[in-house]
Amino acid sequence: MTIQSLIGCTTSNKRGALPASAALLVSFVILGAVLLVTPAAANIASEPGVKSQSAKSVKSDTKCLKCHSRDREKKLEDGDVLSLHVAKAEYADSVHGEIGCTSCHQALVGKKHPSREPIASRREHSLALNQSCRSCHAENFEQYEHSIHASLVAEGNQSAPVCTDCHSAHAVESMAVYQPVTGLPCKNCHENIFDAYAQSVHGGARVKGNVIRDSHIQAPICSDCHQAHGITAVAASDYLQSTCLDCHEGATVAHKEWLPNAGLHLDVITCAVCHAPMAEHRVNLVLYDNVARLPVGQNESDTLFEERLRAIDEAGDGLDPVELWKLVRANDRDGQATDVTLRGRMEVSTGSEAHQLSVKASAVRNCDSCHQKGSDAFENVTVSISRPDGRKIRFDADKEILSSMVSVDTVGEFYVLGGTRIKILDALLVLSLIGGLAIPVGHIALGKILKNKPQEGDQ
């Protein structure tokens, strides 16, 4: 089925009455065309939330493409130029080739066209048209609206993607196009991360077509872990870790077989810390609301703590232990005591490193690499606060926060044996050793002094 065949039929039909035989022939052609259209339409409709479109709108495409297949442009208010050209063949071959131009360009229906209505910018045009995707792809669009991409768009980020940035405006391709390791469309914005993924154990396995054991699950591509439309901020929660465990379902048990406190490790260390052995690490201290039992800011619009953190860190010299203690002990806007603390989590330093996942045999299994003072993770400390969309705002912190006695109160939930030991306790231990040795030495010395001291009447 091609859209051109339909265009041809409708065009000839307009030229006048047809003989009976010709009418029969045309009927067969139309019937054939409908039969060919139906499976394609069914394919589209099989996508979750996609509503099937009436084929009659296809007729209008002829009119549209008559002009829009030519190189035409419209000057925009910001001085830029919007190309009005639609590649006829690409559109026809796209998964939208069947649905007709006005399915998306609904605003043009019943209005004078071409319109002299000004368009502010290409971005504004994309944003306005983006809403039209919802009418067929309601479920995906709703997921997108809750995504980090939509949050960035709402903030006015000019690079944040709308539907057409990933799917293109007219050459909309089927989901199958995104299955091989081509990097499309994520690589357009996340090139470094995609390259890291492509080199990783996941990327390699995907190219080879490996499946996970007998479950016939292919090695993941971007959307398998991050979701295609409801993309969340990676550091938002344990979402990503649970995604890992969805496929690596035996991982928890496997860790428990050799790793003391395996549950705790899986909670506070992201998978990549050990499974991307070349990555650099850091400790991120999340400001946590013990009453709401959520990271501060994740479920509220009050930016009190964000304001305070910005004020404390105005000089940009990193938050010190006492500053953080004052922060968590400060009252809220109503003068009421707050119950917040800092929860630590070990992470890799960059998004690229998080994707450099290696084969299991290369994973870090040497506990000493983290459980000692000076380990790279404890040299880089950040304090973060969440936003409702899950993004974290990070502030640099003094690494001393992990080894200060003050932190017993503020960073009560995070402690790494050997790695974040409190300095004053080291001093006390040295004192106890000195004291434990000084008592015998002192006692023996006292004995010698007293023995040599002449008793009364000796003289």
Binding site: W258, N261, T341, D368, L429, L437, I439, P440, K451
Partner: protein, 220 residues
């Protein structure tokens, strides 16, 4: 003062030349098992805390050993507490129930260790099977066994499986609070072991108490 009848001991309170049988074999086994446990816990504790500075064992081996030995010492403690709670042997910790007299004896013992011992005086405390601890020992051991060691067991068990006990840990004030208490007690034990080992050498002869903890017989 109430005396413990001789038949309560596995061996009679018999004299062997000028020696008295103080600690029967099970008590000696218990003591040395406890001592070994404590030394292993302290050594592995040092290794866990000071990876990179001390390299006797890998961190993983040190943690696993620390956990196993910890449970062995807890079991040993339970034997101790059941033994003393459900037998009349508990009297060895309380031969003197008069508090005033006890503290008087305590200061006499302290004076002996800090002065009299150097002047050739005899210890004010005479070791007998039912009264084997001097007041300083009695008080120290009871504080350690009934107050300090249970705290160490409690914090140790919490850190052994943080996820399992996360609610209790939160109630206590967080993992860092628990670990800080555990380390403070560890520091106290390091001090205690050193002083205990030295004071064990303050008998009639430096070997007297050590010999007694191996043979059971204390020289008179």
């Amino acid at each position: 003062m109430q005396t413990i009848p001789a038949e309560h001991f596995r061996h009679d309170e018999t004299s062997r030349h000028d020696e008295t049988y103080i600690n029967p074999l099970p008590v000696r086994i218990w003591h040395w098992a406890n001592a070994l446990g404590f030394i292993l816990l302290i050594l592995t504790g040092f290794q866990i805390r000071y990876v990179g500075i001390l390299n006797l064992l890998s961190f993983e081996t040190a943690v696993k050993t620390h956990n196993w030995v910890g449970f062995a010492v807890i079991a040993n403690f339970l034997i101790w507490i059941v033994f003393y709670l459900f037998t009349d042997k508990i009297k060895v910790y309380h031969p003197e129930l008069d508090a005033k007299k006890f503290f008087l004896n305590f200061f006499q013992q302290a004076r002996f260790y800090s002065y009299g011992i150097f002047k050739g005086e005899k210890s004010p405390h005479h070791v007998r099977p039912h009264d084997k601890f001097n007041p300083m020992q009695s008080m120290t051991y009871q504080i350690l066994m009934l107050m300090v060691i249970p705290v160490q067991f409690f914090t140790g068990i919490l850190m052994w499986d943080v996820k399992r006990f996360e609610d209790v840990i939160e109630m206590v004030g967080g993992l860092r609070v628990v670990s800080t208490i555990h380390i403070l007690v560890f520091i106290l034990f390091v001090f205690f072991i050193l002083v205990h080992a030295y004071m064990g050498a303050l008998g009639h002869k430096p070997s007297t108490h050590y010999k007694e903890m191996f043979t059971g017989y204390e020289e008179d």
